[in-house]
Symmetry: C2
Amino acid sequence: MAVYTEVSEDELDVFLEQYDLGQALSCKGIAEGVENSNYLLHTESGYFILTLYEKRVNAEDLPFFLGLMEHLAAGGFMSPRPITARDGEKLKEIAGRPAAIIEFLDGRSIRRITPMHCALLGQTLAQLHTIGSSFTLKRPNTLSLSSWRPLYEACLESDGTALGPDLLPEIEAEITYLEDHWPEGLPAGVIHADLFPDNIFFLKDEVSGVIDYYFACNDFFAYDLAICLNAWCFESDGSFNITKARKLLNGYREVRPFSQKELEFLPLLCRGAAIRFLLTRLYDWLNQIEGALVKPKDPIEYYRKLRFHQAVTNVAAYGLD
Amino acid sequence: MAVYTEVSEDELDVFLEQYDLGQALSCKGIAEGVENSNYLLHTESGYFILTLYEKRVNAEDLPFFLGLMEHLAAGGFMSPRPITARDGEKLKEIAGRPAAIIEFLDGRSIRRITPMHCALLGQTLAQLHTIGSSFTLKRPNTLSLSSWRPLYEACLESDGTALGPDLLPEIEAEITYLEDHWPEGLPAGVIHADLFPDNIFFLKDEVSGVIDYYFACNDFFAYDLAICLNAWCFESDGSFNITKARKLLNGYREVRPFSQKELEFLPLLCRGAAIRFLLTRLYDWLNQIEGALVKPKDPIEYYRKLRFHQAVTNVAAYGLD
């Protein structure tokens, strides 16, 4: 749930003069995305999403994110297209924030995930990797291996023991293990890096949209898969649904086959993906702002996922032969 | 900002089977209304608002509210029309809540209020009173005179001194004064009772929608005007803008002329309208829920408005001759 920055009617009118979308007919704050302010904007040309980028997004990264959405959409991927202003730019400013108007895509994110959705997710993720590989801008993954120890230390400075005395030493041991064993040279390119169920729209049992590219970066393709295995294949009781994992991985390799090395490192990448979300959630949990509108997500959920992957010895545990 | 109850894709699909609107294409929680959960719903038939009625709305009142919206829209007033289900009903249930689908109206609520907006507001309010007078259902005003002393006593039980030691005795004295002087027999009918700037949409300098009828009730027409004078004619620095008040009152009487008695009692009704919002805001302020998404509104704003009207001796202070 978001909407942090309010937009006045005058600001919006002036903003829209830069586009060929006609006048604003309606503009409603929507509860979508937690990093930015989002409005559903109706103009004389149709429906759009107006996004104001808040402080957590680095403004220097915006050309990468918006360029990627444009590139993916042009390649036939279900990304919403950023709308280009009259001067050819996609990034503008409103209410003191960088802002963009994005195509409105129909579809609904789902809460009750079935194996069918996981198969579609796998295909979609592989399409994103394939089409994204010709995108020329680069952005390093600022939330991968090298960020984890600093994030851990920041958690240590806050009262990290609030979640139990054992958690922090276990996290540190895991980071050391990952630093020692992290792979090199796996197939890499643009990854979404945050493809949670909130960020995919389905319509009549097909994927109709993939949104929220604000963590996208260059990294191993298989790391994106690891993020998805964590986000889509655990049940709310903490159990791992191997049927969903199999569907996800098989859906993926229908479009882009895995290398042997990717499969070999998948359990380790799943541990890394679990640490990444465990650390950022822990940090947000320890540093939550009194009265903030966004309730921090449970870090322990990702601790349990980490424990699961630590016990995995090969990809058979994920349903592959 | 709202969205309290989440709706799953399955619940929405089953819900929509009761209507002739086709399938859901998109459904996004919107930050509109503070009492209910609101979604912007796109179906194969168009765009709608899906409202789930939360606990603060008494379910027994919903036929009055929805019937009124239908009645006003049928009479040519800019009220959104509730959509009738196949069985002829407007009120259904989803996710354990009473719910209705309401027509989507274009337009934007305004933050920078001008005298022109106040003139349009006056005309619009008088139209609501005129068209609403033939609506046959009745609903007493549960937040008028007889509710103020109990509300005051509930505030007293909480730590009412938090806002300063003088406030509560002053409020009690005012309630006693209002009880002794409240008029009888003024022209009455259906009033909106909550016509704040959030609840009117403007489009190209015309009123395009009046929403949020969930405080509507039967009471004096001039009391509705008093609520609007308080909500629209004070500046953010607390000063009263007599130009806006004159425009509001003159806009109103172009459509429905005042009686002499209404004018005579207007200052008193403004005091009552100030006490009503002062008390409900004070109650919410004293009983705010830790971590709630809705930040309580400032009660002191209405204390200042009360003080202004206490000093008014006749309607010349509101810009009328």
